[in-house]
């Protein structure tokens, strides 16, 4: 009984954090799904969704209901257990990184010393889910999509890690809160502009979004790894994609854009969280913007860009950072 009383606050904290994480994942998918379609429309001089509710604001709610009502079709020759496992494996890990993201000084699930490693570890499970989904669909397009996803994600994880490592060398910590606190008045985007650019490019590739959306590549591979998925199992992949975008943008905000720092808003205690979310959604807008600007890269171009440009540049950047840190 004694031990129960001692761990009870922690248990309640875990439950609340998980609930908040779920709210963020689903709320973010609703907001981003709507914003992306609306912005896509306006980038092409169209109005976007207009029919359901005021300016189509309820469109995503109805889409969600439709997806829930759809039948889960499993191809006859698919590997059934793996086929059902893949969307779950893609969706389940996205909650964990949300626990360690410092939305503001007080608004954080857990501040652990290796927060960054936790986020990177759980974010890379998505690749495994994509591979399983593509493989078990027993479909050449799905398999191609999965192979591309693995090659691309393995390649782009390296510059991503190295560019973050430069910041870690400067702040001497893996804890996200300490990294955010380490940038007082000068954000790391000013100190490390090259690392920021490399991180953003690698982030777009990691989240499998255009112009690096080769795993999906609808004009070449129908829908890539999720060709055979329908209904809820398809929407789990989409939810995971948007949640991964949110997590990657949060990491960028913490490491380069000063976390929750900003001018305190009047009459609001948690203005840090508002600033944090504004920065995250500004980055998300940038992702949508480049999605509707650039055409998809060819696969060899994608790989060349990573191995010939991003990795050498990030290594040079890391080397310079290390020397500077040692000298100063």
């Amino acid at each position: 009984m004694e031990t129960l009383y001692s761990i009870l606050p922690e248990l309640i904290r875990i439950v609340i954090c998980a609930a908040c994480g779920a709210a963020i994942v689903f709320g973010n998918a609703l907001v981003m799904g709507y914003a992306e379609r609306k912005l896509a429309g306006h980038f092409m001089l169209r109005p976007g969704p207009m029919e359901v509710g005021w300016h189509g604001i309820l469109q995503l709610v109805l889409d969600g209901l439709k997806l829930m009502g759809k039948q889960l079709v499993i191809p006859a020759k698919a590997d059934k257990p793996l086929f059902m496992l893949a969307p779950l494996l893609s969706f389940a890990p996205v909650f964990v990184p949300l626990l360690v993201i410092p939305f503001s000084d007080k608004l954080q699930g857990f501040d652990i010393d290796i927060g960054l490693l936790l986020i990177l570890a759980f974010a890379s499970i998505n690749v495994l889910a994509v591979l399983i989904g593509g493989w078990s669909s027993n479909n050449k397009y799905s398999l191609f999509g999965a192979f591309r996803a693995v090659a691309q994600n393995v390649a782009y994880e390296i510059p991503m890690l190295i560019s973050l490592l430069a910041i870690v060398f400067m702040t001497n910590t893996f804890s996200l809160r300490d990294v955010a606190a380490a940038q007082g008045s000068v954000w790391f985007v000013i100190v490390q502009p090259l690392a920021f650019i490399i991180y953003i490019v690698a982030m777009v590739a990691e989240t499998n979004r255009a112009p690096f959306d080769l795993p999906e590549a609808e004009s070449e591979l129908t829908a890539g790894f999720h060709t055979e998925y329908s209904g809820m199992s398809f929407s789990l992949f989409v939810l995971a994609e948007y949640a991964n975008m949110f997590i990657c943008c949060s990491v960028a905000t913490v490491f380069f854009l000063g976390g929750d720092s900003g001018i305190p808003l009047p009459y609001f205690e948690y203005s840090g969280a508002i600033w944090f979310l504004m920065k995250v959604y500004a980055l998300m807008f940038f992702l949508v913007w480049i999605r509707w600007t650039y055409p998809r890269t060819r696969f060899d171009q994608l790989m060349n860009f990573c191995w010939k440009y991003l990795i050498p540049f990030s290594l040079v950047n890391l080397l310079i950072t290390v020397v500077m840190v040692k000298l100063i």
Partner: protein, 146 residues
């Protein structure tokens, strides 16, 4: 080695230019028309099915029931009938129908009309559920028109 860096610069610059193009279009007005709710102005030169013109001075059409259009029509889709009435000079138009399922929109009827009473209409929403929906009573249309 030189091309390695020059490619980076030119490529990066073109990416920035691309972003500029799209952000401009994000803030430009929408060009698509939300069709059932908004409609475009149709040019007066549009050649829809034929209609009798309503003249301002008489408040009526100028058809003299000569039947030229009926005879000229290569698809035989116009029917014109008239009758003599007391105190009225010439014939009075009683029937003017167009079978639009057969009409080839050649415009021979408009060209041949001696009093220039016929013209093309601006109707373009022509969906219907039955063949009979396209048998137009041109005389009724001109009488109903304000």
């Amino acid at each position: 080695m030189k091309s390695y860096f020059s490619l980076l610069v030119t490529g990066g610059w073109s990416l920035i230019l691309g972003l500029k193009v799209t952000i401009k279009s994000l803030f430009s007005p929408i060009v698509t028309v939300q069709y059932p709710r908004e409609k475009l102005e149709i040019t007066p030169n549009y050649r829809g099915h034929i209609d009798l013109i309503k003249f301002e001075d008489t408040g009526s059409h100028k058809c003299i029931t000569c039947g030229s259009c009926m005879r000229e029509c290569p698809s035989d889709c116009i029917v014109v009938e008239g009758e003599k009435r007391e105190g009225v000079k010439g014939k009075v138009l009683t029937v003017f129908t167009l079978d639009f399922t057969k009409c080839s929109l050649c415009g021979a009827c408009v060209e041949v009309c001696p009093t220039d009473a016929l013209d093309y209409s601006n109707e373009y929403e022509l969906a219907g559920f039955a063949r009979e929906d396209f048998y137009y009573d041109i005389l009724k249309r001109v009488e109903e028109r304000r």
